[in-house]
Symmetry: C2
Subunit: 254 residues, 2 copies
Amino acid sequence: MISIVILGTGNVAKHLYDAFLITDNVKILQVVGRTEDKLLAYSKHTEVISDYRYLMDADIYLIAVSDDAIAEVSKKIKDKKGLIAHTSGSCELDVLVPNQRRGVFYPLQSFTKGKKVDFLEIPICLEAKHHDDFMLLQQLAHLISDKVFHISSEQRKTIHLAAVFVNNFTNHLYQIGSEICAEKKIPFELLQPLIQETAHKINTLNPHEAQTGPARRGDMTTINNHLGLLENKTYKEIYSLLSNSIQKDYEQEL
Amino acid sequence: MISIVILGTGNVAKHLYDAFLITDNVKILQVVGRTEDKLLAYSKHTEVISDYRYLMDADIYLIAVSDDAIAEVSKKIKDKKGLIAHTSGSCELDVLVPNQRRGVFYPLQSFTKGKKVDFLEIPICLEAKHHDDFMLLQQLAHLISDKVFHISSEQRKTIHLAAVFVNNFTNHLYQIGSEICAEKKIPFELLQPLIQETAHKINTLNPHEAQTGPARRGDMTTINNHLGLLENKTYKEIYSLLSNSIQKDYEQEL
């Protein structure tokens, strides 16, 4: 049995909490948060605290707070003997208070409030200062996920950068698509199956093979027509830049 | 029973053929193609021809060839009495030879060779010169899809433009993500669940609500770190432009 304390009450904290709550061999001793109303979602099954003086001794402290609060929270628990791990994709291991048992437990997923996820499929990226601590994090991660990876702080930075492209920027392209449709009173749901299929294809094809469209074909007539249709200056720039970038990838094949 | 002839042997032709072949109340009379080897995939259950002199009389001729060949193919069948419809997202209705019964039967999906799709979920965008012809296309479309829409040529252009953003450009972002990972020997499969979830979210949230990430939060430290990590000049430009565009959307909320 691994005993843990979760520090934080946001999306990542809640999804980890839900996953561990229904898992054998893990005991969530406490959830720590600043405000009572946010702790309410945890108090039915678990002790919740706001005052660090009541913090219990646990095997692992999982810090699931915003990036800029991680250092501060880790300072508050620096006298505990347990392993302290943060759950952030973009923060280095060393953001945690030094001279401690330290690690990273980063579930690579975009969590939405109220939307359940299948944790078994979520990659968990682990890192630790000491080998024994790594083994402990690995044991914990395998209790909820089939996909556990040893990822250094430097690799994690790269993953986070790549994630910005495939998640944040992709969502912004959805936003642009929805605005373009709204202007002409076209329901955005028309594009839903295409969006799902575009993502689904990547499970079986690599993105280079899966690429289609006017830029891929070098079809300048359609590209110029599209640029003519776009009124928003920024969206025009995005269209040009992405089309040029695609064309560079395939210019030797045309 | 509606009788149809499919002109073309590419991806769209094959997916439409497969859908109609297993549908009651449609009879595929012929498939027309230029080369014997491409017609092979159709010849087991259907008559295939390359010579337009043998073209039969059908209720509907579906032209599923590349955009720049549509006009030429429509000329070759101009003496037929049946309704002629092309299947392209980006071509106007008027690309078809005039003074004819003309229409558009555009299935809004990105088709991949060998990858089956659920046609019931695919939006089919219809247009026709005459009301009776529209009703006939609608009857045909409803035999394979639950999502049938009346879409004008102008709206279809807009949809195609939006589709370039949510499909072609999104796939290019996957490509950039995979390159960034490959450089640091990180398996791209780590990003797969995130990619699927990003697309999946859009079924329940609108893209504006679903947006997350450093640009959404106005987190300039992370943005600058990421720009520092990117070596490819074009990818750096894409990162800046998309981040600025996201920040514009949310600047009033920050």
